[in-house]
Amino acid sequence: MTTSVEPTCCSCCVVKDEPVPAAVEQKAGTPRMSRMSRLVLAAASLALGLLFVLPLWHIGLKAPQYPEGLGLYIAINRIEGAAPQDLNSINGLNHYIGMKVISPDDIPELRYMPVLVMGLIAAGLGVAALGRRRLLYGWISLLAIGMVLGLADFYRWGYQYGHDLDPEAIIKIPGMSYQPPLLGGKALLNFYATSWPASGGWILIAVFVAVAAIAVREHRVASK
């Protein structure tokens, strides 16, 4: 792992590697992951539990009148203001452009995602216990798919809120939509919106990188 010079684009490895493990398993006769890999996987799975507490994503809004900024934190189970009243304030401002009220109750993902994450944790711990390489590849694939789908879903909600505007909105600017950026910053009228992973998001990325790294390592060991 430490001296790896191979590209670490893990999704490709995972896809490429799919058929390989069985062969490796047969060849090497040792289908088991190393002790360290199993520990890393278990720890990474448990780390996903932090996503119940820490937010995945942060959307920030700054304007001349809001020098301290407004912000939203998106977690797997809730959406909340960066400060207690920020969600209220953002909804209050959005009424000028005719955006629908952002109400966490209207977003079913906030109910599904905790179940999915629980499943991932359980599965991860199971794989670590069993120590089967093929299951490890499966788990990291699921995580990758989940992350990509999550990001796509986030984009979809952003698109929907940004484009589904009241035709009688107070402020109407032809051609203007108010979709926040998927990643990075963007000017929206007097506001500058930013969108970046929050602490939970970085943990998720770290989990992915760590598990992908052990998957690559296991694959290397298996192919030798």
Binding site: Q85, N88, S89, G92
Partner: protein, 654 residues
Amino acid sequence: MSAAVSQSRQAFAVAALIAALAGTAGCGKGSGPAVASSDAASKVYVAPGKYDDFYAFLSGGFSGQVSVYGLPSGRLLRVIPVFSQDPEKGWGYSEQTKPMLNTSYGFIPWDDAHHPQLSQTDGVPDGRWLFINGNNTPRVARLDLAEMDTKEILEIPNGAGNHASPFVTQNTEYAVSATRFSVPTPQKDVPISTYKENFTGQLTFISVDKTTGRMSVAFQISMPGYDYDLSHAGKGPSHGWSFFTSYNTEQANTLLERNASQNDKDFVAAVHWQEAEKCVAAGKAKVQPAKYAHNWTDEAGIAHSEMLTSTKVLAVKDCPGLVYFLPTPKSPHGVDVDPTGEYIVAGGKLATVIPVHSFTKMLAAIQNQKFDGEREGIPILKYEEVIAGEVQNPGLGPLHTEFDGQGYAYTSMFISSEIVKWSLKDFKVVDRIPVYYSIGHLMIPGGDSRKPFGKYVIALNKITKDRYLPTGPELAQSAQLIDITGAKMQVLLDFPTIGEPHYAQALPAATIKDKQVRTYAIADNKDPNGVKSEKETKVRRDGKAVHIYMTAIRSHFVPDNVEGVQLGDTVYFHVTNLEQDWDVPHGFAVTGARNSELLVMPGQTRTVTWVPDRVGVFPFYCTDFCSALHQEMQGYIRVSPAGTKIQLTSNSPQ
């Protein structure tokens, strides 16, 4: 004051001496009125968007209010309404605030606010509350420093001219009040010429609850009929005592200007309030009937008023060891205790020296009974037994002294219009600086506490004459910011004030900056007439009273159309500001309202009463520019003739 001067040849002699001194020593003086030196600007420049180092609270004098300034910039940050109605803020006009101005004389829309005083813990300003006295209809107010809002006003029974107030004790055990004008107590119909027989003074100790700040009259001490002028509490070793100046020990009831200026010495009354507590606990105070109002604002932001009916009065003769008189020249104004608690400095308006009493010597004199007679049962201590020293040739008309915590005292000189700095070691003058003009009090941040913050002294001037662009016959009063960090005092800045700044207090901004309340949580709105969402808005008729439960949020009122009001109705607009965003108040005004606008803070409910006097359709609107669509934030109320068939309706969602 000029008449006072002509009374005193001695004073003239000193004036001549001062002039001579100034002529030799005052190099900066010859070139006309002091202009701040070139580096002064950088010392008061607070860049746009940057914060000042200190909050300063200045009394609004006859405006009845408290003003909040930033130092060193001298920028006015806020005027907090206290004793006077303030239509700008709806203070004393909205139904929720009207009870705050209730007194035993009825609703009083004005007072003369004199001495702000920060609450203290261990003799240091703690940033919790600010107290201030109303001089005319005797009252003491308590302001909360997180909301910068008046929370409580207590009328003082048996009072008249509440001037020596509120000067708190070291841990804010008490705020005090004293009668500047002695009166018959309890009030009765007697010839004014019977002053000596019938008039008394009262020193009142107001207990302050440690947690809530709630005030109540703990006890009153009945005193000889003098004029009690100012006060400060002891601290450190002198904790447990409070000191009050008195003048008119001649007990004149007419032309006091002359008749109360005859005695060479009047008194500082040293009051051992810890002794008073014991006497009160032992049942030595007499419960007397009295009538006085106690007004407070509850957690819901709604003011209440109750009328209290009795007070405990302690006679000096019933509590030996309670009060001693320190002879003090002459008609003293301020009495100020240095940070160590040892020196008690009096500002004798007509005195030619500044007398400095020693607390240690005072205790010894009491112990050894070094008395020089007594007045109405109060022992008079021998002057030479209590005096630590006299500041010689200080100037003319010493009024008030504050301390820098570095061993120096600063005394304001009304007549010679200057501040004099002198050493507490040898009582010698070390520096003086002219002020423009006729300084009353002065203030060093924390300068009356155990730990002065120092850095500046502020001159609080009564007269400005030619200092600013003239504005007709009435000119501003002013404050002058003076740097005291160097050996020589240096004028940095002049700024005009709200009303007359009698006294002021200041503390480092960090003490209270971060605990400022930004909004009130709408979920916690406990106003019985408040609503928590637009869905809850409604109109209701109750006989001839019409209640409109209305919300305001950018940029609309709900409801904004109301019909079915009749002539003869009284309409109550209960406006709840649904905003939960910092600095987004909404205003509310309706045509022909004979009171004021409302200014409603986020999460708050305020009620204004409107009695229409003609038929028609009348607009109401938001008065505080709140948003891009502020001009659209308006509505109509229709008034029909009495007895109309039109039902009371609105466009509330209900």
